[in-house]
């Protein structure tokens, strides 16, 4: 019986547990509640994935009001894939919180952290499951507001400024999205996404209101995704946030925003409108290519490794937008696949940095010199994640690049292939800078006796590193779902 209600439960569980954390107060209790909630959500997501793979799209009417009048939860391959990423990363990261928090001076108010964490998870998953455009905005705001709080928890004072900037930019983005939703409502008289898609052709492709809605949606989502050059909020936010938050947000928040863009551009507006009637592909491709290069180069010169990773995230988002800009099943598959794989590698790398920070209190590349001797497992995990980030074969990163290249070849765009390959080489530079420091330089004098990170930090990081390799070899699950999602997105248009 409960199986039928899984679509609701997956977001309700964290929603219930978030206030529970506040009521229970004790940090151990809150931790246990948060842990169980994330795991339960993940379990629900897995079950939902299986269900969707078996029977196709699932629709769930909230409050019993049938769509398109009531709020609908609608799950197809893309939705469950995103759900899987968010809840999966959430449940891997959660056990990490206990130790990671200790160091960052918010121990006594840890329950607040867990509450915000669960709300953020709830919001992100809500965005992923909902079939209602306005509801999507609400969930987006839930996740955004809680992530501002999470970022502001960083031990560095600059975390506050970073969170504030993120708040301003995030609010602008969300406002754009809600403006777009409003305009769409004006044009079509409905908020249900599937219904909007049905009614848009009636409104006409030259309708100025719809075009404005489209522009606002692309820019609003683009801001949330941190498409270059709308990315400036991201480096500070990821750098100064607590490590666990960096890991969680880097792996999930931008991914969910990419989902919003995919969903609206391909499903709601439709390929015909977005790419045939309007010249969207070229600007996106230009931005994507710029994103692949400029932030990568910036990353090469950063001294704080978290910042390196943050800029690298902006670059990796370029790949996702690139695949989207191909407007083909292959391109979308690559894009969705990279969404998943990038979550794995960035999650792993940020968790590793959390372990580093836990021991040496810094993520500066100079302070990490010679660390491989003292923290072999930690740095080995970094190497693993780094290889995936570069896209070395047998890692997840390779798979997504491979599909991206295939998609470009299918279009016959050689120069794009060259650009993809060259930009991967830049990744080699910034990853190997860290590896070189850790393995081939001598440790600073005050850091010669550093112990290996505790198992509670290492285990989540290694799980993700392992996942990087697993999904680099066994691709049937990730590629299978991504392909189905891509087909349904293209088919909808």
């Amino acid at each position: 019986m409960l199986l039928a209600h899984l679509p609701a439960l997956v977001i309700v569980i964290p929603l219930i547990c978030a206030p529970l954390c506040v009521l229970l107060r004790g940090k151990d209790w809150a931790f246990i509640v948060a842990l169980l909630a994330t795991w339960a959500s993940f379990a629900c997501s897995v079950l939902l994935t299986i269900q969707v793979m078996k029977v196709g799209t699932i629709s769930y009417a909230m409050g019993g009001w049938a769509p398109p009048y009531g709020i609908e939860i609608r799950l197809d391959a893309l939705n469950v894939f995103i759900l899987l990423i968010v809840s999966g990363i959430g449940s891997v990261v959660a056990p990490y919180a206990r130790n990671s928090l200790l160091l960052e001076h918010i121990e006594e108010r840890a329950y607040m952290f867990y509450c915000a964490y669960l709300l953020c998870l709830c919001g992100l998953m809500g965005v992923a499951v909902t079939g209602d455009a306005f509801n999507l905005f609400v969930f987006l705001e839930i996740s955004s507001l809680s992530s501002y709080v999470l970022i502001a928890l960083g031990s560095d004072r600059r975390a506050l400024t970073a969170a504030y900037q993120y708040l301003v930019m995030g609010t602008i983005g969300a406002t754009f999205i809600v403006i777009a939703v409003g305009l769409l409502y004006q044009a079509t008289g409905t908020l249900n996404m599937a219904d909007i898609a049905n009614r848009l052709p009636e409104a006409g492709y030259t309708n100025r209101t719809v075009i404005a809605a489209f522009a606002f949606m692309v820019i609003g989502a683009g801001l949330k995704i941190a498409i270059f050059p709308l990315h400036q909020w991201l480096p500070n936010a990821y750098t100064y946030a607590p490590n666990i938050v960096s890991a969680f947000l880097a792996a999930t928040a931008t991914k969910v925003s990419v989902y919003i863009l995919l969903r609206f551009v391909f499903s709601v507006f439709g390929v015909e409108f977005s790419f045939v009637s309007l010249p969207t592909a070229i600007p996106l491709l230009v931005l994507a290519v710029l994103a692949m290069f400029l932030p990568s180069i910036v990353a090469c010169f950063q001294t704080n490794v978290k910042r390196v990773l943050a800029y690298s995230s902006v670059a990796q988002i370029g790949y996702m937008v690139l695949g989207l800009g191909f407007v083909s099943v292959a391109g979308l598959t690559a894009s969705i696949l990279h969404l998943f794989n990038h979550a794995l590698m960035k999650g792993a790398l940020f968790l590793v940095l959390g372990a580093v920070f836990y021991r040496i209190g810094s993520c500066n590349i100079d302070r990490m010199a010679g660390l491989a001797k003292q923290m072999p497992w930690t740095m080995a995990a970094f190497v693993g994640g780094g290889l995936s980030l570069i896209g070395v074969p047998l890692t997840a990163g390779f798979i997504s690049k491979w599909y991206l290249i295939l998609a470009a070849l299918e279009k016959g765009w050689w120069y794009i292939v060259v650009l993809i390959v060259v930009s991967s080489l830049i990744a080699v530079v910034y990853v190997f800078r860290v590896i070189e420091a850790a393995y081939f330089r001598d440790a600073p004098d005050d850091l010669v006796n550093v112990a290996e990170a505790p198992i509670s930090l290492l285990a989540p990081a290694w799980i993700l590193v392992f996942a990087n390799f697993y999904f680099g070899v066994e691709t049937s699950i990730s590629v299978g779902i991504a392909e189905r999602a891509a087909q349904s997105l293209m088919g909808a248009g």
């Binding site: 609701a8 929603l15 978030a18 206030p19 529970l20 506040v22 909230m62 409050g63």
Partner: protein, 139 residues
């Protein structure tokens, strides 16, 4: 504001009516204009008025942080749990029908409870925000 006797007296006189009006808006929400959100704000406004006239310390004695926090979390919890109750009773999430014998009464009760949660949370949040600003000092 100790010297403004008129204000103090009038405040004391008004306060029950404000709170009562808040409760009216709250419980009448499912029939007429109103509901948890508005009621929560009105309710909180009463306490804000009280603290403006009698001082923040006095207001905090009435509404300690602990209670506010409990209300803040509890309201959300009520909302979410009502939804779950429906689930357990065999309907969709937030589909209130099975809460009572007839559909009409079920919907009635469900909305009532959910609005209660909303009101509780909104009032608590308003007060928390107010107290945060009122007690904030430049370090």
């Amino acid at each position: 504001m100790k010297e403004y006797l008129v204000l103090r007296v009038i405040t004391k006189l008004l306060l029950p009516f404000i709170l009562l009006f808040g409760l009216y808006v709250q419980f009448h929400g499912d029939f007429g204009p109103g509901g948890g959100f508005q009621a929560g704000v009105i309710f909180a406004a009463g306490f804000v008025l009280y603290s403006l006239v009698y001082g923040v310390a006095a207001a905090q004695k009435v509404l300690p942080t602990g209670i506010l926090r409990a209300g803040l979390a509890g309201g959300v919890l009520i909302y979410a749990l009502v939804g779950v109750a429906n689930l357990i009773l065999g309907a969709n999430y937030l589909e209130y029908t099975p809460l009572a014998d007839t559909m009409k009464e079920g919907q009635h009760l469900g909305i009532f409870l959910v609005e209660l949660g909303v009101g509780l949370t909104v009032a608590s949040v308003m007060m928390t925000v107010y107290f945060t600003f009122a007690t904030w000092r430049e370090d």
